[in-house]
């Protein structure tokens, strides 16, 4: 994705890739970094730095509306015990920016 974008903008070398990774998006940053090591080889991003912004996860209780911090599975609401929750924040998995020349 980053390489395509760089090429489309007339760049030939990526120096940094910036990602937004929410705490509820199912992606593990360590696994992502490991995969990145392999995936960048032989591409214009082969020496690129990976910058990950960890965005906090927030679950909102569907029964009482109370919000709580969440990472991955939210568990029951600490206020009313309901298991029904909506993920209000933290689902992001986004290529935010690239630094390229």
């Amino acid at each position: 994705m980053a390489v395509e974008f760089a090429r489309a903008n007339g760049r030939h070398e990526i120096v940094q890739i910036e990602l937004d990774v929410g705490e509820c998006c199912g992606v593990m940053p360590e696994a992502l970094a490991l995969g990145f090591e392999s995936a960048r080889k032989g591409t214009m991003a082969q020496d690129a730095r990976l910058a990950i912004n960890r965005l906090p996860g927030v679950a909102r209780c569907a029964a009482c509306g109370r919000e709580r911090a969440a990472a991955g599975y939210a568990g029951p609401c600490p206020a009313c015990g309901s298991a029904r929750a909506e993920i209000a924040a933290g689902r992001e998995f986004r290529l935010k920016s690239i630094d390229a020349r």
Partner: protein, 232 residues
Amino acid sequence: MYEETPVAAQRLIVERDVFGHNDALARKNRSFLTGRRIVALNLMSSPGSGKTTLLERTISQLGCGDCGGGEFVFCVIEGDQQTANDAVRIKQTGAPVVQVNTGDGCHLDAGMVARAIDALDPREGVFLMIENVGNLVCPAMFDLGETARVVIISVTEGEDKPLKYPNAFASADLCVITKTDLLPYLDLDLNVLRDNVRTVNPRIEIVETSSKSDDEAWHAWLRRAHERAVAR
């Protein structure tokens, strides 16, 4: 003599959702399936819970594939890392089936399902049974464009699995508990298993099946799902 200064790298804003590709394909699948009033079920479970056996039994009881003699018509997408074993089993029932091998992949995604749907070209009002790769972790994260999600767990797997693998159960519409004929040989308390399922997902429906008894509750759920689809 001159010094070349390297061109400075510039920040280019991208702001593109990485999962967007799968979700866009899933939406396309869903739109196609809704248009043909097809009930697409994403069947998820651990390996060995009895997904394929349940499918074989259901197809032979409620339908006979494309031969037009049963109550419903079933088409099947089989997902496994390797082999076409499950597709071969389903073929024996007469139902049209496509095998998808994911290789190193641990789940089906919307792109694989889109290609399988193309190959099957399912007719209006059929059931499209998508048997996902045996895995209680990853399939929960990938929208295939299905009508509903069914999580299957057998009585030999233990009462606490819904708590250990909450995403699969939380994202499902129906939980099928299989192999209940083995209960006399096990220490499992069915009520505890059901309670754990409902703890993780209070709105989920639960049915039980076994190859030694009728699957009436499962059949009733299928009929309701079908009615909803064709009523659209």
